[in-house]
């Protein structure tokens, strides 16, 4: 299906099913956001829309990834899903399509798309934040698979997750990039402990995950043993492509919500103009990235530019929110005020999560500007 036809059909279906798609309960907690996401994914999957843009090999209906970009944009613009938790689908499903054994991908990906399951991404560790190649969570090979022992941290949605795309060290400690392997682990296995971490913005978004001699079967290898760094390098650009287009739609919506409610004279016109421009530039850049993905180009370090622009736009939008709605953000206790406050506080992490702005600039300097080693 072409984008224009998809857009028309989806918009019409969303109009007709607005009541069924709308949240059943107020969206004040992460539990409620997760329940709403699962409901919307199930309805859009059963109606077919969630299956477009994904390969037939994993239960999709084919077509361009632009269809996925538009689906998330439409759902976000109508305030039906929270784009941060929706983004795990766009980040993890492409990795399964590219690296899992075909039968495993065909079995698992539809569960994620239909909202039957939540998946998480086990990358960061207490000693390994920006320096991903130094990860230490250890996997020892045995006849039937691997035994995993170690710890992950900042693992978003691990407390809800049935599966985890997990990076482990299978080579010697000094093997750096070369000794990392990617596995697809079941979160219900014995030996896994999940501890949610409470956060500044009010939701236990992410967790510590402890692995104590956890068995991961042979068939759960993603790519080849020792190829985990390539899996990660192909996954990260997905975190900075379709999901960021959805983020742009979210920022557009919330900035318009601000304009609809803010008092006369509460905003500085220059700050408004700067923010509108930053958002437009981020959106223009992300649009080009969606079209590159649709043309079958392999995304790489250039998506770090998208991430820097996304973080800048998100913080600018919520700086404006805090300036224009200071009383609500700082003193309000109602549902709307709590949402503004939570989103404002969460935006402070935009330059931290998914690779800090410093790491993005390092990637840009090394890979796009070819400035050589920084040591």
């Amino acid at each position: 299906m072409e984008l224009a036809a998809f857009r028309t059909a989806l918009d019409q279906w969303l109009d007709e099913h607005g009541d069924a798609l709308a949240p059943d309960r107020p969206q004040d907690t992460l539990d409620e956001h997760m329940a709403q996401l699962a409901k919307v994914k199930r309805l859009t999957f059963d109606a077919g829309f969630m299956r477009f843009g994904w390969s037939e090999r994993v239960g999709g209906l084919g077509g361009s990834p632009l269809l996925r970009a538009y689906l998330g944009e439409a759902l976000t613009t109508r305030d039906l899903v929270e784009p941060g938790i929706y983004s795990m689908t766009e980040t993890l499903a492409p990795t399964m399509v590219d690296y899992a054994a075909p039968a495993l991908a065909a079995e698992m990906v539809p569960r994620l798309l239909r909202g039957d399951e939540t998946w998480c991404q086990g990358f960061s560790e207490p000693g390994t934040g920006s320096n991903l190649a130094a990860l230490a969570c250890r996997a020892v090979r045995e006849d039937s698979g691997w035994r995993v022992t170690g710890q992950k941290v900042w693992t978003s949605l691990a407390q809800y997750a049935q599966r985890c795309v997990l990076l482990v060290r299978t080579g010697p400690v000094e093997s750096a990039h070369g000794g990392i392997t990617a596995l697809f682990a079941d979160m219900e296995r014995p030996g896994i402990t999940v501890r949610p971490i409470d956060t500044l913005h009010g939701g236990p978004e992410f967790c510590e995950v402890f692995f104590d001699d956890v068995v991961v079967p042979t068939g759960r290898l993603l790519g080849q043993e020792g190829q985990g760094w390539s899996v990660a390098m192909d996954l990260l650009p997905h975190e900075r492509s379709t999901a960021l287009w959805h983020k742009a739609a979210f920022l557009q919506r919330r900035l318009q919500d601000l304009l609809d409610t803010v008092a006369e004279e509460a905003l500085d016109p220059v700050q408004v103009g700067e923010t509108v421009q930053l958002l437009a530039a981020f959106r223009a850049r992300s649009r080009a990235t969606q079209h590159q993905l649709a043309a079958g180009e392999r995304l790489g370090p250039e998506t770090s530019v998208d991430k820097v622009l996304a973080a800048g736009a998100e913080q600018a939008v919520f700086d404006l929110v805090e300036a224009g709605l200071a009383v609500e953000v700082l003193l309000g206790d109602g549902s709307s005020a709590s949402r503004w406050r939570s989103e404002y506080l969460f935006s402070r992490a935009a330059t931290i999560y998914g690779g800090t702005s410093e790491i993005q600039r390092n990637i840009i300097a090394r890979r796009l500007l070819d400035l050589g080693d920084d040591r």
């Binding site: 304009l259 509108v276 437009a280 850049r285 080693d373």
Partner: protein, 320 residues
């Protein structure tokens, strides 16, 4: 134009811009069929030529052709255009009885041409007229960037032939094209500044290693590239959408990126970049003037903010 054809077009224009400047580049553009390209594919013609002009840097009077073509009045190589005065966005003249009172700028074409196209604001809307340049006082301005070859133009002139009434939006269309041309030229100049600073950072050794190894230097250059890429993305979107609002945002983003590039690249090039023995100063001079032409990043941003607040409505988002 796309693919191989666009690449050949760009290589040809790039070679011409390297070899010629001013009237000689104007002549080369006629020879190379740039004006035909401007009529067929203005996006490609404007982006490619003006980015090369910024990168070299050199000048031409092609901006006159961009404006006259957008107004449906040309291009004619022997007719100049009066551009708005620095920082202004409205037409450069007003009607006063039978006269057109002109205050604006001209490119290097204005001093040699016999006639000039003037757009004037009047009580019943904008009009376009052709006037004799001999009726206007044109004074070459040197200023911060003498190589740009601008002239200050003023005076009261009578139209040759009848005035042609412009449709509402015609001037905005011409202004948008001018803004995009200036934007591409700033992107070209900023790309050149970034490359100069990048090469210097790799060659200059301090404390036993190239200064490119220092994160403070790397991040300045990375920020310059991010600013440039975001300006490029908005330029592309403005051509794609043909929206005056997006063209204004693109111009502002290009002006902002050019100032970012000037600041960071000058800092990285340090003392060397402060001398006139190094080419950096030519780009710094050029982008300061181009940022102001047709409205600066600062004024366009403030105006956008005031409009959004007055309408309580964001501009239509760039569609997928």
């Amino acid at each position: 134009m796309e693919g191989d054809e666009l690449e050949l077009f760009s290589r040809t224009l790039g070679a011409a811009a390297e070899a010629h400047s001013g009237a000689a580049l104007d002549a080369a553009l006629v020879e190379l069929g740039w004006h035909e390209a401007l009529a067929d594919d203005p996006g490609a013609a404007v982006s490619v030529l003006f980015e090369h002009q910024g990168r070299v840097p050199c000048t031409s009077s092609a901006l006159d052709d961009v404006v006259t073509q957008a107004l449906g009045a040309g291009p004619h190589q022997d007719m100049a255009v009066v551009l708005p005065w620095l920082g202004r966005a409205e037409p450069p003249a007003r009607r006063d009885g039978g006269h057109l009172v002109v205050e604006g700028l001209g490119t290097n074409r204005l001093l040699g041409a016999e006639t000039a196209l003037v757009v004037a604001q009047g009580p019943a809307g904008d009009v376009a007229a052709v006037v004799k340049t001999s009726e206007l006082a044109a004074r070459p301005v040197r200023g911060i960037d003498p190589a740009l070859g601008l002239s200050a133009v003023s005076g009261a002139a009578t139209a040759l032939g009848p005035l042609s009434a412009l449709h509402p939006g015609d001037w905005t269309e011409a202004l948008s094209r001018g803004r995009l041309a200036a934007g591409h030229e700033m992107v070209g100049a900023s790309t050149a500044m970034l490359e100069l600073a990048r090469r210097h950072a790799l060659e200059r050794v301090q404390f036993g290693r190239p200064i490119a190894a220092f994160q403070a230097v790397r991040h300045r250059l990375a920020d310059t590239l991010v600013a440039l890429e975001s300006a490029r993305a908005l330029l592309d979107a403005a051509w794609h959408e043909e929206s005056a609002g997006t063209a204004a945002m693109a111009k502002a983003a290009c002006g902002g990126a050019a100032r970012t590039a000037s600041r960071h690249c000058q800092q990285v090039l340090a003392g060397t970049g402060f001398t006139t023995e190094h080419p950096l100063h030519r780009y710094i001079r050029r982008v300061l003037v181009l940022d102001e032409l047709f409205g600066s990043a600062r004024s366009l941003t403030a105006e956008l903010g005031r409009e959004v607040l007055a309408r309580r409505r964001l501009p239509t988002p760039i569609p997928l």
